[in-house]
Symmetry: D2
Subunit: 339 residues, 4 copies
């Protein structure tokens, strides 16, 4: 088969990451056009350097282009739902960075368009493609450890975002924990039914100005009877802390962080080794390529995508439930949230 022709929507950090990966590491894909309303010489030069033949400021040109088989939506979050709808109507396969939208009705409208058009949609929950987390999930899914009892995710960023970002981020649950809400669904293999969130401001008083928290613990209940917990913090000076654990009937499976290297020094002061890799670009570097390859493979071999529309919707519902729990100081059932 010929290469899958990609239209890249958005030439910012995440767009360039996908674009570069697709050109270099995904042999069955080819990015043929970049659309970005802020297109300038520098961005065009970048596109040329990786072999993207055409650039435009108009996303609509991409949807209208009969040569484009699939789009990567890497534009700002507020455009995601609209672009999904347009791409679906144009019959393109869709890879969309998370989240689809921050409000449920917008997500549902986008998903309805995808359903109606019968196109493929994959949402960019990249951590599922990390080899450590995937190994944990595969053990759980294999059933070799029996029933899951407890699902745990620890996720800490090395450093907090600028306050200007915090202001518009939608809050920690929609911005940061959303990845963990996806992860627990992935690990448990079923839906969350209830959440209880405790949170506080410890790393920077600025979060309080936006009614946000920077440190939070979320207790979860799952459809399959398991319970779970996520703990998040906006800062961890030792690097990106990304660990998951599933305690099951017959054993426990968990993962450690990737370290910067495997050297260690023993002296009279103790044994010192390298710290975890710094942030998501380092830790999930290979996972981005893997998610791109699987998306292209789903198109070529007409398979369901590994992270579908519902996988895009549910974490947002859980995030909304967590925010409500924090605000109201009580556990919130998912059925209380539109879905």
């Amino acid at each position: 088969m010929a290469k899958v022709k990609i239209g890249l929507l958005g030439g910012g950090r995440i767009g360039r990451l996908h674009g570069t990966n697709l050109q270099n590491f995904v042999p069955d894909a080819e990015v043929v056009v970049l659309a970005d309303p802020f297109l300038n010489d520098e961005m065009a030069a970048w596109a040329e350097s990786i072999g993207i033949a055409k650039c435009t400021k108009e996303a609509d040109e991409v949807f209208a282009d009969p040569n484009v088989d699939a789009v990567f939506i890497c534009s700002s979050t507020n455009t995601h739902a609209e672009f999904i709808i347009k791409a679906a109507k144009a019959g393109k396969a869709i890879f969309c960075e998370k989240p689809i939208a921050t409000e449920i009705p917008d997500i549902k409208e986008a998903l309805a368009a995808v359903d109606e058009a019968g196109v493929k949609l994959q949402v960019g929950f990249v951590r599922r493609f990390d080899r450590n987390h995937k190994a944990v999930r595969d053990v759980v899914a294999s059933g070799e450890l029996g029933k899951p009892y407890v699902v745990k995710v620890c996720s800490r960023d090395p450093e907090g975002p600028p306050m200007a970002y915090v202001k518009v981020s939608g809050g920690i649950y929609k911005d940061m924990t959303i990845h963990d809400f996806d992860m627990v669904r992935y690990l448990a293999g079923c839906e969350v039914t209830e959440v209880y969130a405790a949170g506080t401001v410890l790393t920077d008083p600025g979060y309080a100005d936006y009614n946000d928290v920077d440190t939070t613990i979320i207790t979860l209940k799952f459809e399959n009877g398991a319970i779970g917990v996520i703990d998040n913090c906006r800062t961890a000076p030792y690097g990106y802390d990304q660990r998951v654990e599933v305690h099951c009937e017959k054993g426990c499976v968990q993962d450690n962080n990737n370290l910067e290297n495997q050297a260690f020094i023993s002296t009279g002061d103790g044994v010192k080794s390298a710290k975890p890799t710094w942030f998501f670009l380092e830790r999930y570097n290979d996972a981005f390529v893997e998610e791109e390859k699987e998306f292209i493979d789903c198109i070529i071999n007409d398979k369901p995508t590994p992270v579908n529309g519902n996988d895009g919707l549910q974490p947002v519902r859980i995030a909304i439930a967590a925010g409500k729990s924090l605000a109201e100081g009580r556990p919130v059932k998912l059925e209380e949230i539109e879905g």
Copy 2:
């Protein structure tokens, strides 16, 4: 100074553990009498084998014995408070296995007697003397990592107790999690102010018959602003899982389990190492000796005991709060609980 003369109250499993340790490993202590209402030939033979000169069925003989400097209360839980009161009135130093009692008024009455008599009291929260947990706590207490943000304890027993025991255990929070409630206070260096408990029955339906749970996640808030989480399960077929973690401003300190040995085998199937030590007798073996030594040292050098009466009281309050939270499905403030 002469050896501290000990009266051992209770010749069951935990009494024998303390008795044997005191005779073999605590050079400044000597067990001079054992009192147990179920004294029989076998128990007397055990006492003789480790050099305890006298045995009796009457605890009161121990309290009345002017030769006894201190007592180790290792009898059944329902006798603890009464024995503390009697020992205090007799002016003996007191080591009491946890818990002092399962109800607050009983604890307070016992502590009042201790205060009035001005005797020393140490409660048997042995995990504080484990070298791993102690190393974690010492780092936190040193301040080198700055403010604590998140305190985490994972505690799983290798196998559940008999249902006959579950029936009278007082429930998971008073029986099992109580150690973890002590541990989080020890790690955070301050009091718990609020708890939220989620729990379920997964390992054995029998727990439900006693209105108990076998798997639970408890979210905590602390006086110093930190938040925390404990997760417990009554079964872990790989052994006793005992890990703590404190995430702080400048870094994170945590510990791993002790393994049965440090050998590992690399084959085409992966790398295999030994599992954690089996249960508390293996894991906290050295810690029992350490807590005994520190108690004796506090007597000889007239120092405050490292686990005092309030340390005996507060975990029971937290356990009661956790039980209430589970029953009522809401966070419970510690100030709601008598204390």
Copy 3:
């Protein structure tokens, strides 16, 4: 500066590895021509797919091409010295896969040509660019641990080569241990002065047919007074075992293998984690890119290459000494070997 224009000599496995890396990951390089005497449609298609504009069967076309700034010599070993000489005469910078040649006079002739022409030469001892080994060496070189006492390298291949290859390999010391001879020089920061080799045939009796061994231990003495040991085996069913260690005056620095992932499973049978990455393409994947980048950087910024001609020569001398030691059953001084 414009990109460094590369002529790639050899389109086999290692040539394609370098070619692909240069095109994808080394922004300042561009492969402009491939020369391979076995050029066919498949190879030409590969070259085209990564953007190499020109292909030829004639290496001389590359040397004659004024557009070519540097060559990557990835052809069969017996052509390396000749190609180095031709490239040097043509004034090209040279990256040459190891070894330069298997006999000393050939290496010296090539190095003389490089010296005379004043061109840059880097030899492909890729392990120096592995982040684990580099971290170990950097600690030693920093002096923070004081004088090196003992240098250790353990290197095991996951599976042995075909006997057809063993026949022409030049023996284990020139073929496999040569990397470790380079590594000990890199770690110790000085020359080897004496070697003693013990070896045997254990994995496959076929090695004996070619007067070779498959398992060997080599003791080394260094100019700086340290001693060292390398152990090699042609098979290790758990994957590529690549560990180094330097024990020094004030401490010891060493590294562990990279594992396939960081997940681990705890059950009643023990704790199981992933095995080391399989072979050099997996383990040294990133190191290949790093060595290419550093070579290009040396050209652009006119710096000495990190693995120079002498670094290409000495491991061959040590390999010859090791072979002599094995044959004669005695330690052999490096000064006995032409150099």
Copy 4:
């Protein structure tokens, strides 16, 4: 059966270690008499404190005592052979600290007396009873990994002995490496046939004054075809470094050091954990008890001892061969050494 009655010969550091262990941890043993030519009030008080009823300066009183079933020879090395002979003639079971003697003829004379008398003899190679090393050896002995290929032992002391001791120690091979010579025989399950030793003085020039080395690498060949290597250093400021490894046909089994605790701290500077336990009293603490228990068990149940006379002899032969190899700069076959 009644307890095995022990006569303890030697009340120095190692004698007290065995005496205390036997009284406290080996329920089937009882030390009834201590003999030491340097007996004084302090030593007698120690003996009394652990319940040894009788003390004497005369070892012959122990051999003559019909109440004594077995002796622990913990006196100075030069008395070991003589005491073995006397104990054997008196029909006592014998535990003898290593080495039996430093010269072969003395050892052979002692072993002949043991054979003639038909008494049990166990030599104090305590490392065989370390749970890490034992786990490694058990995997090799089980055959699950197939044939052993390479046997490796790394053994480093935290700090060197006083020069006064070095002077009379018999040199590093008889004093320090002798444990490792025992260990490689234990791991390989067969005899050593050839050794090559390289050694140097790096930690303290004083060693050279006694014609000794402080850092050494010894290559070994084994009867079963495997090869091996030991590396030793007299100093390691991070603690007692004791690691073994056996690379086999189907995999590799090795062990790590015990650390002081399992806590670790992650900060911007890296991940720091505790160093290995300090020296043999910390590391082999439990192993001493285990060797004592097994010796007593062999007496009670009439089983062959786990470390017999030949196990006492062979390491001395290997040590002599290593010294000869170092002196002569060539590999030395064991058959060159009287045995």
